[in-house]
């Protein structure tokens, strides 16, 4: 059985009276890339801050590597690398010096600095002052710093924020390699489904502080049942006919839509339409795209 790396139990955080994170049960297994997905303000950063001990939960528990974060903070954090929101750096120092600062505190060997510079492809810019770095380079430096101590768990909060498309692509490829090449588990947050879809093995979707879905990408796809579309001449009249039969249908521009149907139900509808002399020129099953599922999940109940 694979080990659980992150487990939160009913994790809750309030600011004053507003509950920003509510009863979140995060479960991340070893070797996974866990995509933590949710619109801006959903509570991703707040959750991540709690995982790192930067802020305290109002309620609930956090276990990392099977140990209580509150009780064994230091030994746990030794095994975690992180990048929270905007990157942290000393602008007056060079990239290499920034890593050297972190290296001295962590007490890892000097050659590790060159290794991580190489990993994030900053070797060329190693001797430039970080205040002259682009945002993407700062972000990469932040990741290099997070990797310095050879962490078993890497926590990245919106690592592609502010990057250009090629930078995003590069970051994605980079993150994908980590579990395979270095045996790491990764928690990566984003507000973009497309991003998570392309790198994560598991997803957790959070909205208004509540976890509304957790599982594999494929099980997310299975969440939504496909719908049926009937291409029919004179759709409005045909829909009335079907409705009078007690079927729940809706008319859209491109035809009549129903919930997913069994083969018999489908055959029955077609037969019914044809006997009433409607021309049926198309019958198809339409699967929702992940994007639609995600939007459906995150927009549901958005308006009170």
């Amino acid at each position: 059985m694979t080990k659980t790396v992150v487990q939160t139990t009913q994790l809750t955080r309030r600011y004053g009276k507003t509950t920003v994170v509510q009863n979140v049960n995060l479960n991340i297994k070893q070797g996974e890339i866990y995509g933590f997905l949710g619109p801006n303000g959903a509570g991703k950063t707040t959750t991540i801050r709690m995982l790192l001990g930067l802020i305290r939960p109002s309620e609930g528990e956090i276990q990392l590597f099977g140990k209580d974060l509150h009780k064994e903070r230091k030994s746990i954090l030794k095994r975690v690398g992180s990048l929270v929101e905007s990157p942290s750096y000393y602008g007056h120092l060079t990239g290499k010096e920034n890593l050297e600062v972190a290296r001295r505190i962590l007490g890892v060997p000097s050659k590790r600095v060159d290794e991580v510079l190489e990993m994030v492809r900053l070797t060329q810019a190693a001797h430039k002052k970080v205040k002259q770095y682009s945002l993407g380079m700062k972000q990469r430096l932040g990741i290099a710093t997070a990797l310095l101590g050879k962490p078993e768990l890497l926590i990245l909060d919106e690592p592609t924020n502010g990057l250009d498309p090629s930078g995003i692509q590069e970051m994605r490829e980079f993150i994908k390699e980590l579990p395979r090449e270095h045996g790491m588990s990764v928690l990566v947050s984003s507000h973009l489904l497309s991003e998570i879809e392309q790198m994560a093995t598991q997803v957790g979707i959070i909205r208004n502080g509540k976890m509304i879905f957790q599982g594999s990408i494929t099980s997310l796809q299975e969440q939504s049942r496909p719908r049926m579309r009937f291409g029919v001449g004179d759709a409005n009249v045909a829909a009335q006919l079907l409705a009078s039969e007690g079927l729940s249908v809706s008319v859209e521009e491109d035809g009549i839509w129903t919930e997913s149907l069994s083969q018999q139900e489908t055959a029955h509808i077609v037969e019914h339409l044809v006997t009433h002399r409607f021309s049926v020129y198309r019958v198809e099953e339409v699967k929702q795209s992940l994007e639609e599922i995600f939007l459906g999940l995150t927009e549901e109940g958005e308006t009170p």
Binding site: G53, L54, K74, K78, S82, Y89, H92, V101, R104, I105
Partner: protein, 238 residues
């Protein structure tokens, strides 16, 4: 662990004003004293009973301003560079206790002040010769009149360090620091800024009494440091 933090802190000071300030401070003090003695040396002969008193009394005025000013600036520079690149949140996710992170700033602050004091001693020795004051250089008295006020500034250092870490806008701790120097000492002898004046190693009357004020200031400094560290340790990190 704390040695590793100090090593990191040393590297962070590269290319900052901290190093310049470390050298310019003592040179500035010497320069001011040279101008002071150059212009008013004859007057001091009449004003004070002997040369030693004039040196100590005139340094006292200057150190009373210079020591807390240096402490305010050093504290602000040490904390400011962490605010600037939002590195506090990074430091606090390292496998190091928060208390050690705090000490990792407090110890460099104190060491910087000690180095400044150490450089000021030969500077005043040089002044003694330059101003042609009578007798051999009174090293013991010079060391005491620099070291005592430096130690007595511990409460000010502890306060400034706390304020500089607490607020990311360094305008606030700087304002407090300067207001303290200009106002606090005049309000009451019990305010930390006054201690720096109260520990002068000569019996000059008034509130001056190093035997009482020096241990008092050191104890208070340590207590304020612990209080500041406790508040920061409990604070949530943005």
């Amino acid at each position: 662990m704390i040695l590793r933090l100090l090593g990191a802190e040393r590297l962070k000071m590269k290319r900052t004003w901290i190093i310049a300030l470390l050298i310019l401070g003592p040179i500035g003090i010497m320069g001011c004293m040279m101008i002071n003695f150059g212009l008013r040396g004859d007057y001091f002969v009449r004003k004070y009973p002997d040369d030693l008193t004039s040196l100590v009394m005139e340094s006292r005025m200057l150190l009373y301003l210079a020591i807390p000013l240096a402490g305010t600036l050093f504290a602000s520079l040490l904390a400011g560079m962490e605010h600037q690149g939002s590195t506090w949140k990074y430091l606090f996710t390292l496998p190091v206790s928060r208390f050690q992170i705090y000490l990792g700033k407090a110890i460099p602050l104190f060491l910087l002040m000690t180095i400044c004091a150490g450089l000021t001693v030969p500077a005043l020795g040089f002044l003694w010769v330059w101003a042609d004051l009578s007798g051999t250089i009174p090293w013991e008295m010079i060391i005491k009149s620099v070291l005592y006020p430096t130690l007595a500034s511990l409460p000010v250092l502890a306060l400034q360090l706390y304020f500089s870490i607490q607020w990311d806008n360094q305008a606030w701790p700087l304002t407090i620091g300067i207001a303290g120097i200009l106002i606090a000492g005049g309000i009451s002898k019990w305010l930390p800024w006054a201690y720096i004046r109260n520990v002068m190693p000569l019996d000059i009357g008034g509130d001056n009494d190093p035997h009482f004020w020096l241990p008092f200031a050191i104890c208070q400094g340590v207590i304020l440091l612990l209080i500041g560290a406790t508040i920061i340790m409990r604070r949530e990190v943005r």
